[in-house]
Symmetry: C2
Subunit: 442 residues, 2 copies
Amino acid sequence: MFLFIMTDELLILNASQLVTLKGAARPRVGAEMRDLAILENSAVLIRDGLIVATGATSEVAAQAASQCQTLDAANRVVMPGFVDAHTHAVFAGTREDEYEMRAAGFTYQEIAARGGGIRSTVRKTRAASAAELFDMALPRVRWLLEHGTTTIEAKSGYGLTLDDELKILRVIQSLNRDTPLELVPTFLGAHEIPDEYRRSDDAGQARTAYIDLVISEMLPRVANEHLAEFCDVFCEAHVFNVQESRRILKAAKELGFGLRFHADQLSLGGGSQLAAELQATTADHIEWIDEAGIAALQRAKVIAVLLPGAVFNLGLTKYAPARRLIEAGVGVALATDFNPGSSPTPSMQMALSIACTQMQMTPAEALTAATINAAYSLNRGARLGSLESGKQADVVIFDCADYRQIPYFFGINHALTVIKKGRVVVTQKSLGEKPIENCYTR
Amino acid sequence: MFLFIMTDELLILNASQLVTLKGAARPRVGAEMRDLAILENSAVLIRDGLIVATGATSEVAAQAASQCQTLDAANRVVMPGFVDAHTHAVFAGTREDEYEMRAAGFTYQEIAARGGGIRSTVRKTRAASAAELFDMALPRVRWLLEHGTTTIEAKSGYGLTLDDELKILRVIQSLNRDTPLELVPTFLGAHEIPDEYRRSDDAGQARTAYIDLVISEMLPRVANEHLAEFCDVFCEAHVFNVQESRRILKAAKELGFGLRFHADQLSLGGGSQLAAELQATTADHIEWIDEAGIAALQRAKVIAVLLPGAVFNLGLTKYAPARRLIEAGVGVALATDFNPGSSPTPSMQMALSIACTQMQMTPAEALTAATINAAYSLNRGARLGSLESGKQADVVIFDCADYRQIPYFFGINHALTVIKKGRVVVTQKSLGEKPIENCYTR
């Protein structure tokens, strides 16, 4: 009688550059962001979904079981999967009509004032059932995975009623359970004042009523059902001002939510200072942050989540001051802001290209921001975001030999093979392309 | 005894939008650029590499042979293949090191002054054999095809000796013959003053000697061997000034070359005026063009080839005045400027996204610029760039139902199936994606 022990081992070998990003017990800051801890001509061994070894191919291969599955990464870059720390990936409808309007000269704010923008997506998202939203999200999940993203933060915020916000958060929960993508849920009930709270003769009173609804009904319910880890607010003069944002975020903090929120995106409104005051995990966007705000983030160890895709896509020119943030010692993360209005891209590679060319981040800084720092911004830095023993095996093989080519050759997808928890979930092949063959011999 | 007649028929049916762009006997200008001549729920029938019918699926299908191959394009956009009217796609080496330097604050011109830039690629390209250059170009050809580009203009200009320029042009000829991509060759001997003509004590005399070489030896030889259809010059104060450019281009014109050249890219130098004076086919870049230049292009019917990818990638903010050009009635084309320095993207979809967001072109204008107008700029408007009977069947099926989504969802590749001369040359598939099945039944 034999006891057959199923080993679930995968050996990725001969990587031209194994970009490990290992050794960071907290977000990398300053010059640390340029240190990718690259191992050349190296291998990573994965067992039961975890990384068990990294190092020279011969040494790592010696630890592998003889029937181990192998992937040859010769002339290729192997990296941790991207962690996209700011998305609105669950939505109904697309907004290419507004995209066209912007080409005709309308600004994002003007389109919003006409009932477009976020409120347009809210109407469509409310009209969709949970099952429909789930189905609509699936091709986007596939896009994310195909482009090398293995974990995302995903916000609600297109419901703006108790039931619709819960619906979106449950869809996020289902996607997390039923697809290979890992989703970290954030409650964003305070994304916009919904239409029905704008029709009052006393708009101020209606605003307050909506904020009361968010605080008194939505937040406790989301907390009770454990549907979100973080609470977000769109803190901006024309949306929720600093006082309103503080009220919501303090209530969320008391309920145990982590805080991450839209700050200083379209104007300098004090959002970054508020993030520091409330010890938020992140301050996101911060295109308009000033020196005092930068110093405040640094002191409070708030991570800056930069979203250059939205600046690019809206045709704006004021990007977040990435260089100043890095020089000041703020932990910087990058994200796509994937959403149907301001930033319709699921590609972290695109975010890297925009970061390098428009914010003068080096490719190394951008990769750090897109992996280990983003993982820390989601409280997952101990499990995700680097390739080292004991960490979860979220690994991407890129079809280039130098990591700098990932942002450099832009507008294309370099991800070839995407591995989540040790399992190959995407393998790109096309006609004329020699595929990476899975083989069981060494 | 049976006579078996092989019909080479392909029927693409049920397209949500068949973007035909038909009916233009010259480049579209002004408001015409917004007219894509879209047929909804329609089909295109291809026979022996040519389009034989477009229209309602039932009507077109009735004309197809019973054993015709079919592709179902339900919920998909079908368009002409992109024509990329300005590339430097044949080169050796990559320049991600300079990309990193730009993040550290060096300008393109400063890097060039240190021996980087074009001259860096020249050194590597000279060192490569024709066979090596061909092999290096193959994955780039695959990138171009995969992203829906079926025809490109391809320049020499990284050789800068007679033999090396001929070598590059012969590689372009080989790629045109041996791959599905159609390449239109342009001689760009006057891309830069090569190193060996900079070491003289009398730099002015050495410059003149190089220009003499281009005019007296290179141009006649390229003409005799029929290795290029067009002649290009990098007309810019620090490269070839207007007087030098005029001399070279006039000599080229006398030898029968069409003229297309780099004008007013980094400064207003009179290049656009020169293009009009010489009745060039195109003036390319023209970021710094003024109103007089725009009027000159319009009067002389010179097509403006805009290259926003280079502006984006160099981190500059001054894009070509696309709206003014369109309003003034200049025929506008878009291209990637694919090259290893200023614009390392092979994706016309990326060029569209930058054009729409940074130059406020509408998606329709951008598509016109990337297909039929680009085809006219290569003297191929009668054969390529639109879907209508009698034209070559260069067709792309995009995985979206509205053409505006092609630029809108940016940084990703929407091309699903790419057909060149009636033959399927790329079919994208990935895990979890339901592939389009080729089938022989209807």
